[in-house]
């Protein structure tokens, strides 16, 4: 079975700053894959490479067996057109640290937008699904609210519903609870836990070690643009082998 995400020697740099220095990893179907590490370790950058928000400088990145952002013919790579990149992204949901909801649309409008605009779905069908998804994240009664009228936790749950509306096969979470007040984190994690149980493949950049230990199937500790240690969350978090992992965990646990 092809892995959902496969990275082979992925490098990324911004000018002189070398952010990713050869990442190799595989995310299996239905797996909850957690990425942890200190800030600046490149974990968010790697996540953004998976849906081509960032272009990688070398290596290969595959989602569901498909090369991300390029087409390979023989030994030559061809950049994909914008429309082809957009088509690849349709199947990859993303949740941002700062929610990035569309502030000029209601919660319902946010969730309905992409299916209507991208898939050409009818309003009625999109609306029916959006209402179901908002109900699933516990916000059925907030459908008519604008993002500015919602708390951070509610906004993030709408953002999750918005990503799910495209019925993705892979969900990317970029520190989804880092911008939230502590008492709001639980609601968002509950939604993510529920999503994991439904069998969604998830790549989660997080600082929530409890969530990683409890829900994660695999965990990778990144530092300085490389994978330092990987394995089952219980093993890596409970019995770290590398000094850098130990030092990081002693600070956050």
């Amino acid at each position: 079975m092809t892995p959902m995400v496969k990275a082979e020697g992925v490098h990324k740099s911004y000018g002189a700053a070398h952010i990713l220095k050869g990442i190799d990893l595989e995310v299996n179907n239905g797996e909850v894959f957690c990425l942890i590490g200190p800030s600046g370790s490149g974990k968010s950058t790697f996540l953004r490479c998976i849906n081509h928000l960032e272009k990688i400088n070398s290596g290969r990145l595959y989602v569901d067996g498909q090369l991300v952002g390029y087409r390979q013919k023989g030994d030559k790579l061809y950049e994909l057109k914008d429309s082809e990149v957009a088509a690849q992204r349709r199947d990859i949901g993303m949740v941002f640290q700062r929610f990035n909801l569309f502030p000029h649309m209601t919660a319902l409008g946010n969730v309905m937008e992409a299916p209507i605009q991208v898939k050409g779905e009818s309003r009625a069908v999109a609306r029916e699904r959006a209402e179901r998804l908002l109900d699933r994240v516990g916000l059925a009664d907030k459908a008519g609210n604008y993002p500015s009228q919602l708390s951070g936790g509610q906004q993030q749950r709408v953002a999750i519903a918005r990503a799910l509306a495209m019925e993705p096969k892979l969900m990317l979470f970029d520190e989804p609870t880092s911008a939230l007040d502590p008492e709001l984190v639980g609601d968002v994690l509950d939604v993510m836990r529920d999503l994991a149980e439904s069998g969604m493949t998830m790549v989660v950049v997080t600082h929530e070690m409890g969530f990683a230990r409890e829900v994660g199937d695999s965990l990778v500790f990144m530092d300085g643009g490389v994978v330092v240690e990987s394995g089952h969350p219980r093993d890596v978090l409970g019995n770290p082998q590398h000094d850098r992992t130990k030092a990081f965990l002693s600070k956050v646990l």
């Binding site: 429309s83 349709r90 605009q117």
Partner: protein
Amino acid sequence: MTDKLDKVPAGASPAPAGVPPEAIKAIPVRHYGRWVAGVVVVALLALLGYAFSQGNVRWATVPEKLFDSTILSGLWHTILISVASMALGLVLGVLFAVMRLSKNPVTSSVAWLYIWVFRGTPVYVQLLIWFSLALIFPVFNIGFYKDEMTDVMTPFLAALLGLGLNEGAYMAEIVRAGIQSVDEGQTEASHALGMSQAKTMRRVVLPQSMRVIIPPTGNEFINMLKTSSLVVAVQYPDLLRAAQDIASTSFAVMEMFFVASIWYLILTSVFSVGQFYLERHYARGSLRSLPPTPWQKIKSNLLSLRSDQSGGAA
């Protein structure tokens, strides 16, 4: 509760339940400077009024000519050319703003050149250039259509091109600032959902940039209503031209300028009100609660007045 209160030591002097704390009654500071300034300003105004009353103005002519058919026709033409030029300016503004921000160096350079030329020369000169185009191109020929340039370049077209292209250059900069004010995360979120560049612009970025674009655009339109008086230069029969026409036959020159000014004031006032409602519409989602409309303000003031009265009666 009561026995607990009873146990409070007398020295603590708790506020007795049910009795509101005594309001402060102090003698307010006297602002003598404000009184002096007020008197001086009123005196100056009175002097100004007196000067005008002594001037050789036939005041009766003003209301008499306010609804003259020539004036009303001029008024209509002023509104027409202002709206048409503003519409052209808006379309060009959005077009050139998007071109200016495009990754294609040719389109962005062309947009830069357009803004540089049309913002850098006086609109009066531009109007004259359009009107005099027949001097260098006597015949208008685009293959399937051919005519004398003097027939093609009517006063309306010259006015529209002169005002509209000039406005487009200003609008391009306003729209560009608006587009750039939208958070990058919005574009990213839209792209992550699989939305194309064009859809992202139309559905996500432009509606949000409206909040930044509308206020200066309203100012531009109010400016346009006034700047349109320059179209006298290209023989367009606008409000000022109408006033001048009547003035030249009736010799009520100043009176007719007053008539025109009154209409310009009315136009700009009416559109200021429209601008308020437009800004309110696009504030949706960015404010928790929208600012009240003047009508809502009046209503809430009346309501609070009523509740004050009932409170006083009780």
